[in-house]
């Protein structure tokens, strides 16, 4: 296997860190030295030649190759077994509906949320339980970080260069979680979104920071979900009114109440779709009266349809803490779900 990346020699681990930091190749945290051996190990694991084209960034025509993804994945701390998830996430990000350039350059400052589904979660030890949106496990930590390092180094998504975020959010270091599929009989996210349930899959979404809610004082589905819908209404009032892919993360304690009442993901999405709505005139109450104009009575829904809501089961076993995760900006970017190990846009072999 012949790698083509330029080689550098460094005398010590400290020298490696300084080389990468001073070249603008990191997120500010120390990196794992990407040696030819470690990069080859990732490519071997994924059975990919170094020059395999993962995608072409559609705005500037940047080619994303397996070798370069592997270099950055190693830097992020990925083991070879994590690498296929990074490849699938990037394949998804290169699909046109994701609008990777806009989503990663915008002043809006979103991050790429990565959701893992299927058997790969168990193979990697990503459980979607305690601290699901934080430092829950090694796999989600390093996979999320790899996405960001690849953006920095392969698309120049550096602060003040391509990344024009006003604030950004902590998920821009790493924003990856696994769905807890074992604890419920709900259809996992990838199956809801059309992938075979038995397959492993990755969903990417251009996502704002999570907004946490709490409701531990009811067992009624309508009341639990009203709290989620209210937080979405708050986001529509304070951030963006436009419909798009929202995600909600429902922890075990609240899932148990919903399941006891026989609510499935479809019913949840339909309820939220009906309740997460505001009138444009509400913007007057939050300092945005200047743009209400003659549309005060116009009603806006958080999603164009219930299908746009990504319902994710995740979180530790105790606590009525859930979260809504808003889209970067309405429908500018669409969440993309891809099964792992599937060729996208491949042409059939020529006879």
């Amino acid at each position: 296997m012949q790698l083509t990346s330029r080689n550098y020699e460094a005398d010590s681990i400290e020298a490696v860190q300084e080389l990468y930091h001073s070249s603008g190749w990191t997120d500010g945290l120390p990196i794992v030295p990407p040696t030819p051996e470690s990069v080859k190990a990732c490519l071997d694991w994924a059975m990919m030649p170094p020059d395999q084209l993962i995608g072409i960034e559609p705005v500037r025509g940047l080619a994303i190759t397996a070798e370069k993804l592997a270099v950055n994945a190693v830097m992020a701390g990925c083991l070879p077994m994590h690498f296929p998830v990074v490849v699938t996430a990037w394949t998804a990000m290169m699909q046109e509906p994701f609008l990777a350039h806009g989503a990663t350059a915008s002043t809006g400052g979103c991050a790429v949320l990565v959701v893992l589904n299927g058997p790969i979660r168990l193979e990697l030890g990503a459980t979607g339980s305690f601290n699901a949106l934080g430092n829950s496990d090694r796999a989600t930590a390093v996979i999320g970080r790899a996405i960001r390092l690849c953006l920095i180094n392969l698309m120049d998504v550096r602060p003040g260069v391509i990344d024009r975020s006003t604030l950004g959010h902590p998920g821009k270091f790493s924003y990856c979680l696994a769905e807890d599929e074992e604890d419920s009989d709900w259809l996992p996210l990838h199956a809801v979104r059309g992938v075979e349930r038995e397959a492993s899959a990755v969903t990417v979404m251009a996502a704002g920071a999570p907004r946490q809610i709490m409701n531990e004082w009811t067992t009624k589905p309508e009341e639990i979900l009203e709290t989620f819908a209210a937080e979405m209404r708050a986001n529509m009032r304070h951030y963006s009114i436009h419909p798009g892919n929202y995600a909600i993360v429902i922890p075990k304690q609240l899932r148990d109440h919903l399941r006891a009442a026989r609510w499935d993901k479809k019913m949840i999405a339909e309820f939220i779709y009906a309740r997460a709505r505001i009138k444009r005139g509400e913007w007057r109450e939050v300092g945005k009266g200047a743009v209400v104009k003659d549309r005060a009575d116009k009603e806006y829904a958080a999603m164009e349809s219930p299908d746009q809501l990504l319902v994710i089961a995740a979180g530790g076993p105790a606590g009525g803490f859930g979260a809504i995760i808003p889209p970067w900006l309405g429908n500018k970017s669409h969440a993309v779900t891809l099964p792992m190990g599937v060729c996208v846009d491949c042409e059939p072999p020529k006879e």
Binding site: D11, P34, T35
Partner: protein, 93 residues
């Protein structure tokens, strides 16, 4: 202990577009504007249009707005560019 480590960047410049030849003068030319659609472009581009017409004698100014301010210009706008002598493109943040 020494390390051999690899460059994490793409190492290849993005395929660059070719800059159009500079115009000697703007008088009598057609100039296009491509707005990203944000509010801030309205006043600024309007002011530039007045300057171009009144101070530089530009014959015609064409204003176009992208349908999605976060995506590349729509194909029909890109197709129009070849009929213009110069183009301004900008964001309105």
């Amino acid at each position: 202990m020494s390390f051999i480590v690899l460059d994490p960047t793409s190492e290849k410049a993005a395929p660059a577009g070719k800059t159009a030849p500079r115009l000697d003068a703007l008088a009598g030319k057609t100039v296009g504007f491509i707005s990203n659609g944000k509010k801030g472009t309205k006043g600024f581009f309007g002011h530039l249009e007045r300057m171009l017409r009144e101070e530089y004698g530009v014959a015609d100014v064409v204003m176009r707005t992208k349908s999605n301010y976060s995506a590349p210009a729509d194909p029909h706008i890109v197709a129009e560019i070849k009929r213009w002598d110069a183009v301004f493109s900008g964001i309105g943040d």
